[in-house]
């Protein structure tokens, strides 16, 4: 019993429970929800689907978590930056104004890395606005939120560029011979890199210090502005990676649709992980769980056969329930209720 209570106190407990609840929801309609099969040499199944499709959100959530923790604000430009990275990558590979191509003008990897790099540059722009000019994060990132997607459109000459080159599809789909979708590996790599950095360096401690009290952090020798800047750059890089993955999925650079509304999911992932949007202490693992919870909800709605126009309503309801479960007020209320019950039972037994 004590052990159980110890587990429930862990920061990761509630987000995980919520994820499990969402997954169990599927059992009602589709008992075969958890089955995983191999068709045509690749893995199939709802769970695989959630892991696969949730990759972009999870990657974005990693960067967003750091931004939220360090600056008590959100980077709302990540969706647009995804789109810009994809377009930049495609224009490098296909050339300006090319509608469809199966040959590349430069090595594919160089093009993709350049796309990620552009994401980092966008992050640096956001970071300098926030950390040097002290502009409120939401306003600072609003600039690229509106501009980045438009610049991407400009780069692609207002059209969708198709990259019909087989290896380009690998990143967003399957590498021949490997049954696991590649985005899962990418997400795993980004998440592991984040954990490694947080464990091996003091970045996490610095970020939390800056987020909790940046004046004190500066006085004890932390360069608060630089840490904040760094978080935005990391967030931008994450958006760049997610953008390339999303582009590879549909082997095209569709400026209007890549990463659309992803910033909202990224922020929601941080919140669903139980992290305070007020900055300070953060739990990276919880954010990642939050990201997959969102994808689980999306997939569940599809599985339950809810039409796409109605899906947002149901999604909103589920999110409200999850956020309520995690709110301290609700938890205190539950504790007081159970406490009273326990007392009542004891008294009843005594009588």
């Amino acid at each position: 019993m004590n052990r159980l209570r110890g587990v429930t106190k862990k920061a990761l407990f509630l987000p995980l429970i919520c994820l499990v609840l969402v997954l169990l929801l599927n059992m009602i309609k589709d008992p075969g929800f958890f089955s995983i099969a191999i068709n045509n040499g690749v893995l199939y199944g709802r769970l695989i689907d959630i892991l696969n499709r949730g990759s972009e959100i999870a990657i974005l959530a990693v960067g967003q978590t750091l931004v939220v923790a360090a600056s008590a604000g959100t980077d709302i430009s990540v969706g647009s930056v995804m789109s810009l990275s994809a377009c930049f990558c495609s224009v490098l590979l296909a050339g300006y104004g090319v509608n469809s191509t199966d040959t590349f003008r430069m090595p594919m990897l160089a093009g993709m890395l350049s796309g990620v790099f552009v994401g980092g540059v966008c992050g640096a722009v956001n970071g300098s606005l926030v950390s040097k000019l002290k502009i409120q994060p939401m306003i600072a990132t609003l600039i690229l939120f509106t501009a980045a997607r438009a610049v991407g459109l400009l780069l692609c000459n207002n059209q969708i560029t198709y990259l019909r080159y087989e290896p380009y599809k690998y990143l967003g789909n399957f590498i021949p011979g490997c049954p696991v979708p590649t985005p899962i590996f990418v997400a795993a790599a980004v998440i592991s890199a984040a954990f490694l950095v947080l464990r091996k360096t003091s970045l996490g401690l610095y970020i939390q210090s800056v987020g909790i009290n940046n004046r004190a952090a500066r006085l004890l020798g932390i360069n608060s502005a630089r840490i904040c800047f760094l978080c935005y750059v990391i967030c931008g890089l994450c958006a760049g990676i997610a953008g390339i993955v999303a582009s590879s999925r549909i082997y095209s650079a569709d400026s209007n649709n890549i990463g659309l509304y992803y910033e909202l999911d990224a922020i929601l992932a941080v919140a669903l992980g139980g992290n305070s949007l007020g900055g300070g202490k953060f739990n990276m693992a919880a954010s990642v769980v939050g990201a997959y919870t969102i994808q689980a909800i999306n997939t569940t709605l599809l599985a339950l056969g809810i039409s796409t126009d109605q899906a947002p309503v149901v999604k909103a309801i589920i999110v409200v329930v999850i956020v309520t479960i995690q709110s301290p007020v609700f938890r205190a209320w539950v504790l007081s209720r159970t406490g009273r019950n326990r007392k009542a039972i004891k008294e009843g037994a005594g009588a």
Partner: protein, 542 residues
């Protein structure tokens, strides 16, 4: 008609509210002379036995102030003396627990439940931070909320500007009322705020530290305006930390200490030294001199040498020198530049002029980290805002400065972190449930010890302690003093700032005296409470 029959003999004993009728009845000559004669005696406001408690603190205990017509009345006291609480009670920001406020012309005791109500009763306040709208014109600011309306209910701009111009002319303030407020200096903005208050028929004007962000010329302008208003019979309560200014414009002084009324004095009868003694709570004449018990022998090796450091007008250029193993005090009243001086040395505020040498080598600190690497440590006076990282654990708070010095890639291994945390928890006897307890859950004194531990971790050669003992209990205070002496004997140089002179006498071998943002004196050798207080007060003190 009865009052008319009784005539002049009665009206000296009457409250002012009834003077008006009596004046009308008498000959005009009488009215004039009586008015001048009574200006000084007419009591505008009395606050008596005012008590106000906050959870855990008695902010005011039988505080009182009496304001007369046409006087500038200084309200003095150190930090936490209850000045602002008293003002907030008067202006309706806080409700008081007991006591009485009486305002001339109102027959029953006044209780202001809001600032609006206070305004209706003729009380206006101008704060240090001006609460006007910088993006509106001067005229709009003057009439905001009570703009003259035309017949259609629209704002009558022409009348408004005309009236605004007249108000400004009357008060000799040279501004274009149609320009936006942000075009004018802070001092002018402050005067406009005052003009607004005066135009709204205020009889009692409260100026809460109006001069703290003004330069000398601006202060002079403000004083001119204050003296003008005084002539017109407005009663002004003037809160400031600058002693000079009190002696320049004020007629009377009320001193508060720890929420209690200490006394009301005429400026002429109150030399500075006595005023400082009253504020600090030491009976100046009876003070026995306390010989420093400590003051470890210092070597000749100079650790820090500052020449001509200054920071943006907050602190005027100063020289400072400290030797190995020396404990130097920095003393002065609040706002005298104590904290600004040490912040400047530490590099928390970048110095605009001068040079700083640390152990013989020039140090140009761009940020605190440079100073830390050179071997400095700094415990700031505002523990909550500048010191603690509240949500982080005791362990993390202790190792942070050391970690910052080591750099982001050289993470201290957990075992080392635990060892350090445990060592200092034991050494400084920090009372905490565990080393992983969030530091915000500790008591004030223990939080302070955590920050001290943070710096001891880095083994600094030069440690600045700005008010380390504020708000902590007596036992811990003594502990701190002993620790300071111990560090000094081990070769650390310490700068120690405290509002309690006794405490500094006990620990320091030398004291720098600050006044009005400048280092004015240095006392060495024969330090007594009297000599230090005399130096703090400056001016005519002997």
């Amino acid at each position: 008609m009865q009052s008319g029959e009784k005539g002049g003999s009665v009206f000296q004993n009457r409250p002012f509210s009834q003077y008006g009728e009596a004046f009308c009845a008498g000959p005009s000559q009488l009215i004039y002379t009586e008015r001048v004669k009574h200006m000084e005696d007419q009591i505008l406001l009395t606050m008596r036995n005012v008590c106000k408690a906050f959870p855990g603190v008695r902010a005011l205990e039988n505080a009182q102030i009496t304001l007369r017509k046409g006087e500038i009345h200084a309200l003095m006291g150190e930090n936490g003396a209850g000045k602002s609480t008293l003002i907030k009670v008067l202006t309706g920001v806080y409700q008081f627990d007991s006591g009485e406020i009486r305002i001339q012309g109102i027959n029953e005791p006044v209780i202001n439940r809001s600032t609006l109500e206070a305004q209706k009763n003729g009380i206006a306040t101008v704060y240090q931070e001006i609460n006007l709208c910088p993006n509106l014109s001067v005229a709009e600011n003057l009439f905001i909320g009570r703009e003259p309306k035309s017949r259609l209910g629209l704002i009558d701009w022409r009348t408004m500007n005309k009236r605004a111009k007249k108000i400004m002319d009357d008060l000799d303030i040279d501004v274009d009322v149609t320009l936006t407020l942000e075009n004018y200096s802070l001092a002018v903005q402050q005067m406009i705020a005052i003009a607004r208050a005066v135009d709204m028929d205020c009889r009692i004007l409260i100026l809460d530290e109006p001069t703290s962000s003004l330069d000398d010329g601006e202060v002079a302008k403000l004083f001119k305006l204050m003296l003008r208003l005084k002539e017109e019979g407005v009663g002004i309560i003037f809160i400031t930390h600058f002693l000079e200014q009190v002696y320049m414009v004020c007629d009377r002084i009320t001193v508060l200490r720890n929420g209690r009324f200490v006394g009301e004095y005429g400026v002429g009868e109150m030399p500075r030294v006595k005023l400082v003694a009253a504020m600090l709570g030491k009976d100046f004449d009876d003070l026995a001199s306390i010989k420093p018990e400590g003051g470890a022998a210092s070597s000749e090796e100079v650790v820090v040498e500052a020449k001509g450091l200054s920071h943006k007008g907050k602190i005027k250029p100063f020289d400072f020198i400290i030797r190995k193993g020396e404990v130097v005090g920095v003393t002065g009243l609040l706002g005298s530049g104590r904290s600004e001086m040490v912040r400047c040395i530490y590099g928390a505020d970048r110095a605009q002029t001068g040079t700083l040498k640390m152990k013989g080598r020039e140090l140009k600190a761009k940020a605190p980290i440079d100073s830390i690497k050179a071997g400095m440590g700094f415990l700031p006076d505002d523990r909550k805002a500048d010191g603690l990282i509240g949500d982080l654990s005791v362990r993390e708070n202790i190792i942070l400065a050391m970690q910052a010095r080591e750099g982001i890639f050289k993470t201290l291994p957990p075992s080392k972190q635990n060892e350090l945390a445990d060592k200092f928890i034991e050494m400084l006897r920090i009372k905490t449930a565990s080393r992983e307890t969030p530091v915000s859950q500790l008591s004030g004194g223990n939080q302070q010890k955590v920050i001290l531990a943070r710096w001891l971790c880095t083994h600094p050669d030069f440690l600045i302690l700005d008010e380390p003992t504020r708000g902590i209990d007596v036992g811990t205070k003594t502990e701190f003093q002993k620790l300071i002496l111990k560090f000094a004997s081990e070769g650390m140089s310490v700068v120690f700032i405290s509002s309690e002179i006794e405490e500094m006498l006990r620990t320091c071998s030398r004291m720098c005296v600050m006044r009005d943002g400048a280092k004015v004196d240095e006392i060495e050798g024969d330090m007594t409470q009297n000599s230090v207080m005399a130096a703090i007060a400056g001016g005519e003190a002997k």
